[in-house]
Symmetry: C2
Subunit: 345 residues, 2 copies
């Protein structure tokens, strides 16, 4: 396995191997190695959340994105992971790699986007590092102060919720990108905006302040809803039943109809929506739904968790064929979605 | 200027432009934008130091280095900047970019080196991110708790000190690398060790605990002593008089003699020694020297600062020709040393 190429084993397997490396020295009791962020105890007992996230510029720069947009997205991707684990973003740092024949203006645009996104999420950009690179990259590190660390404690019967409002927007944008006629994006202004100036769901922090004791797990949707549910499935040791899909954004409905697409594909396999999926302890539903309503945070219940020992034959009695099949197939298609080393699968 | 290529303007000019971008939103009162680390205030008033540092793997991997060594150096480079500004390393994160046809073993070695270096400096590795890259890179973010933040407050007459013991080792290693017959490095075991398993001067934190009020500036030697002194020169608005060079490591003396090299070249233009240069308020010398002695930290006084208004004709009266010329020429050779976009100059 160690001698295999990364393109053979894929990113998920590599991450598993790296997580094993870090496990024995792990000092964050609330969040396991491999989770979207880690926690750190300060001398004195206070805690922080920390996260680093990066990518090669070419892998995320959709044809209509500027380098400003890339810098913006780099910070938001890191911020969203911190927010999902209960952290209020405090500060960001960026490290950029650029080609020697790139223009100074390129570097400035990239960092301006990062700086402005940091401000937009209530934090600031405390510097960075510049490097020469054959293949440009940007890495963003973020530090957050916990509102309430969302340590995973999913139990049988917990309900699965997600913040909503953006589903389908990035899925349609990626679909346009893969079809090749990228000018079509300008007919979908909200999808254009979702891919160039996304924002994390900071309102989720207010929900945690109000009803944090009810929330038993949370993760942001960065690699697609299916991938986020797969993370929940892995971490919780529970089976996931999806009995409703989150509502699709009107632009995505329009796009799906005009291109005769299966809307579940747009919802499950999009990515970079930065919505937050979270589980709620059974009995807490009303409490959570009322708080979200008060806070103006749109959420939807999309499923629940049952023990892994329950077989799929039971699921079919409880949920309609049409709704549980997509999630089941998504969990079975292990390599579905974006893999850094295998690409789209 | 914005339209120019990075190879034309060079890294130093680019950093100046980026620092200007960040200045208006800067929230770290102790350290200016562009310094080796930034400070962050937590709600409640406690402070942190944060830093990100990265490079493309090919730019730092000397022929005799393994990927483990590269991961190790990535963490130490970040740790050293934090230590120089008065921070005790608490936690690190790494983001790595790898080629699809790299082996899983490569990724594991890189992260193992980073993990072990984090432990060696008293911290831990709290995860990271994996990415596909045409040109492999590693970025390291670090968070430190301040022992005492070394805010710059250099005044006329302050003395310049440096920790010593490693000068010349990396200079000779780089010289071997540029000459091409890399097997010669195995004749210099300490130089081999200095380039593969460096460590930051953590003892400097103990010195700060004891005599921090005497220390008016500090910076680590990562791009060579000359570059560090140039940073001091820029930040302090003072002129630097170097009236002694720090002692060369015995291996470096041997190397310089056998290759008829100017030892000042090895000392001033090496890099990655991770020694710490610091300035001491006039009158504090004995206090600082005694404390360093008690702590087993070898230091040497190498110069002093005078107002910029003092012209060079006065310098020649005060210090011998042979000692002040190297520093003067190093300060004048603005592009001397490693530049990410221009290369060695």
């Amino acid at each position: 396995m160690r001698e295999k190429r990364l393109s053979e084993i894929g990113e998920k397997k590599l991450v598993e191997m790296l997580v094993d490396l870090l496990r024995s020295d792990w000092r964050c009791n609330d969040l396991p190695p491999g989770d979207d962020a880690a926690c750190v105890s300060l001398p004195g007992g206070a805690k922080l959340l920390v996260k680093i996230d990066g990518f090669s510029v070419s892998s995320v720069k959709l044809p209509w994105m500027t380098l400003y947009d890339v810098g913006w997205k780099a910070v938001v991707a890191t911020a969203s992971d911190l927010v999902a684990k209960g952290g209020r973003p405090l500060v960001f740092l960026v490290s950029i790699g650029l080609r020697r024949d790139d223009r100074a203006a390129d570097a400035l645009e990239l960092v301006k986007g990062a700086r402005d996104a940091a401000k937009a999420v209530g934090a600031w950009l405390a510097g960075g590092d510049t490097n020469a690179a054959g293949d440009p990259w940007i890495d963003t590190a973020g530090v957050a102060t916990p509102v309430r660390i969302v340590a995973p404690r999913v139990r049988n019967g917990d309900l699965i919720y997600t913040t909503v409002g953006r589903y389908g927007l990035t899925g349609l944008a990626f679909h346009i990108m893969r079809r090749g006629d990228t000018s079509e994006i300008y007919s979908y202004p909200e999808a254009l905006r979702a891919t160039t100036r996304p924002l994390p769901r900071l309102e989720f922090l207010s929900l945690l302040e109000e009803v944090g004791e009810c929330i038993t797990w949370a993760g942001d949707v960065s690699d697609g809803l299916c991938a986020t549910l797969r993370n929940l499935h892995t971490i919780s040791e529970h089976r996931i039943i999806l009995d409703a899909l989150p509502p699709l954004h009107p632009e995505a409905i329009e796009y799906a109809e005009s291109h005769r697409l299966d809307i579940s594909e747009l919802i499950l396999y999009g990515g970079e929506e930065y919505e937050i999926v979270f589980t709620v302890a059974r009995g807490c539903e009303t409490h959570v739904e009322r708080a979200a309503n008060r806070l103006g945070l749109r959420i939807a219940r999309i499923g629940f968790v049952v023990p892994k020992s329950i077989t799929s034959s039971i699921h079919t009695e409880r949920v309609s064929e049409s709704s549980w099949i997509p999630i089941n197939s998504c969990l079975e298609r292990v390599s579905t979605g974006w893999d850094q080393f295998k690409g789209w699968a």
